[in-house]
Amino acid sequence: MFSLRGCGRWVAASLAKQHVPPPARLSGDSASAAPGTPRYDVVVVGGGHAGTEAAAAAARCGSRTLLLTHRVDTIGQMSCNPSFGGIGKGHLMREVDALDGLCSRICDQSGIHYKVLNRRKGPAVWGLRAQIDRKLYKQNMQKEILNTPLLTVQEGAVEDLILTEPEPEHTGKCRVSGVVLVDGSKVYADSVILTAGTFLRGMIVIGLEMHPAGRLGDQPSIGLAQTLEKLGFVVGRLKTGTPPRIAKDSINFSILNKQTPDNPSIPFSFINETVWIKPEDQLPCYLTHTNPRVDEIILENLHLNSHIKETTKGPRYCPSIESKVLRFPNRLHQVWLEPEGIDSDLIYPQGLSVTLPAELQEKMITCIRGLEKAKMIQPGYGVQYDYLDPRQITPSLETHLVQRLFFAGQINGTTGYEEAAAQGVIAGINASLRVRRKPPFVVSRTEGYIGVLIDDLTTHGTNEPYRMFTSRAEFRLSLRPDNADSRLTFRGCKEAGCVSQQRYERASWMKSSLEEGISMLKSIEFSSSKWKKLIPEASISMGKVVSIRALDVLKYEEVDLELLAKAVPGPLKKYTQCRELAERLKIEATYETVLFHQQQEIKDIQRDEALQLPKDLDYLTLRDVSLSQEVREKLHFSRPQTIGAASRIPGVTPAALVNLLRFVKTIQQRQAAMNELPKTGQCDTDRLEKRQL
């Protein structure tokens, strides 16, 4: 049933020379800890968007890392839409990039249509987005992964986990110490990250047919799902889908609305000034719409559509054309025709995700304007898969149940490449920190969309595929795509060591230039009439006697730094040299006054997040605390790590929070006592640190 192609095909390993040489290659032995059994700091299971980021992040942090995947040639595969980014998702990519993650850089090398969405709605909600060439992305990602120092890639399907006694100083009923492959061979590891995507008991649905598969043409992971269930993890089921693919040359584009890319293209990564391709060489997208005939075909054939009938939870938003038609009848729905690659013959009809039997899909497609003669190359299909209730993991993505086991990506109930990548980076960093016995790297919701994503998942769980929206972020004006580096790069460097020197220097330069520029803009003050004379284009309100700072003038919509520097060239000219710097100064000016207020609120929240709760509290049996049974159950399930997280669980009252404060005190006292004791586990840490030297 499983393809056993995992037996020891070693691909890649550009190991740094100062590194402990890899142990003997896989030999299929099954004796526990037998000499020669491979051993790593971190093993990542899965080579999708979460897995690649996790493996690369762990390696960047200095951990010897193994990436286990079903097939090396599917590493970096974009299984669904041929695009990255968007509103909210683009924010996540910027943050992944700020931590030196891969996807943004790879997208800058693989895009074929770059466009920033929401241009007129304010820089806080700009959505960096690009159509990506699937083939190029995969190639570039594989090149990157196979050339990452300390990172080894191996093909193999993981069937089981190796479990041992738990570490007494941590919670959890056991500890993971490696994985067992389908062929019975073992790999030992100090931390294991599972990024199984839709492969846990994955089922593909087309019409009434169902096949076990993680992705069209790939086997699901069944043994692993069973293992997790046996360990006591709460498993749920979700569904998602993907549209059919259409032959490019069978579409009549001439009658459709054409969308052209931005000129110039804005790169995803902070370290890139430009993207690999010129705007004029990029491909357009086209827009068409559904019509009543499409509704008819769907409604007439609901009985042939088991994906739609099933009770497995789909999202409240409408991912499939069926749900759109059922919930919003008698409307025309948008269908974007997106290129799959620079030389690809395929078109991806965004918005047409469907699970009808294949022949009906083709029939439906051909009633759409421009697609009258369209040829369907591959049918759309639905996927149903297991996910693990994310309230079972901590904000560092380690599971409560099994020590040193981390989950990232769709396995936690999210949807989307960017959401997966964001979790991957965090899991990779934390798996590595855990091995090095360092405190976890947690991004707060006040610091990034990554924090919003993980906090939402770990405190509220989810019962639909979780997708990022900017409306989920309370501090949207602070968490902007432009400033992700100043929010995360320095922390990533200092606390995790996951950031390259080049990036760190770039971020430092930007930070100091911004600070300098802002204080310069604050220091230049003229009367409103003088400003009016200097910049006649600006609608500066007259009549105010007080002088106006250059920073306030920059707030006007029609004023940018270029214009300001023309008026006051002496001190400001130099800030126009770098496009990004000039733009960021303008953005800082736009939001200056509002952000001041938001900072207060952020501070209040951070204060509550500094109050850590002990991880080993048994809320159900705690005595001498007046907590209602309902609150106890909620706390027991979500296991908040801070007072801040506890306060966001619905139903946890202020009184309950104050009751919890005493436990914060306990942990503070415990830590104080720990600091006085001679360091335990010293030799272990030494060993690990030596290895990284």
Partner: protein, 471 residues
Amino acid sequence: MWRGLWTLAARAARGPCRPCVRQSSGAGAPGSGATIFALSSGQGRCGIAVIRTSGPASGHALRSLTAPRELPRARSASLRLLTDPRSGEPLDRALVLWFPGPHSFTGEDCAEFHVHGGPAVVSGVLQALGRVPGLRPAEAGEFTRRAFAHGKLSLTEVEGLADLIHAETEAQRRQALRQLDGELGQLCRGWAETLTKALAHVEAYIDFGEDDNLEEGVLEQADSQVRELAVALDTHLRDARRGQRLRSGAHVVVTGPPNAGKSSLVNLLSRKPVSIVSPEPGTTRDVLETPVDLAGFPALLSDTAGLREGQGPVEQEGVRRARESCDFLDTVVTPAIARSPNGNGQRLLLVLNKSDLLPPGGPDLSPELPPHLLLSCLTGAGLDGLLEALRKELAAVCGNPSTGPPLLTRARHQHHLQACLDALGSYRHAPDVALAAEALRVARGHLARLHGGGGTEEVLDIIFRDFCVGK
């Protein structure tokens, strides 16, 4: 508007120079957290009430209310006249204390106002604090959490406080529940629904406007909803009479024909000789006001000259004043057969005095008399009935004081509703949609503090209910 508002807030939060503050606290730089205030002594009638503030703007708040005085010496009590910073109206002569951080209860800059415990004073000071930029009413348990965060509470103290705060929040919860049933609760809920819907539509425009097809006019619809909401809030806030009544007490005027026994009634109700009583008509020539506690309500009781054509210029002026005071009274008690003094729909209690003079066989009064009470100021017969009737009237005017701490609630309400209204104003002037949405979020946050709710999920539910978005 938007910019002005925040600049104001920023300036206030930056506060005056505070030499005693740790340098590390950043002296009010962005990110020092909000400044909170609350009544920290028990609610209800008490001799002294203690109002506390904590946070970087505490010093500023203290100076605003005691302006233009300098901050008092740290940690020692000083007597100051408290005035409303906006109206300049004196509030109370009070003991104030200044605790610069970190040597304070919470570890932050704190100020304490020990004011006279009357509800009018407490409510006045709370409202004045709410109007100081940078200050907001504390949430339940917030002082404790701040104290804890700064390492100011020992384990035993935390345990003790937990119970206290449990009781306090329980009371607040009950209070909130009562409000939710009340008229104001319904209003708030309605406003919150409108606002959430408007916000959801703006959010949908941001998150899906470009990729998915939203219907035309999503933003325009939100705009008009916000406009209507602003008008409703403004009208509500302008109707300050309800608040006014509690601060100085409801106005009860005793009026009627001369020699009906108005002054006797006033003396009886206030339990002290306020007015001179004589059998001669026209004894009272001016309006005499006295604050009384009527059936548990603070009230201002006015005795007036008898309504007749006066005999001399002094009495005529007295009558004129009596009629004038009837124009802004809340409840009229007429101890005699009377026409309604004016037709403004004020509450009128008709009291027939001197019931002791009636023949014992039963009142022989003309049948077309409106509903009335019989009273004898001489014997006290009928007083209980009058008090009960007054209680009902005042409850209708002031709200029932036994159903929770109305002062605190009122200060909170005014603070958050005003802040909500201000934010709606900045919505209309926001330069981009992200800023406009932020203004709505701030506005919604303030309403949520009054009626609960306010989560993101609610917004997403509306987005996905109203729009076909996602892919």
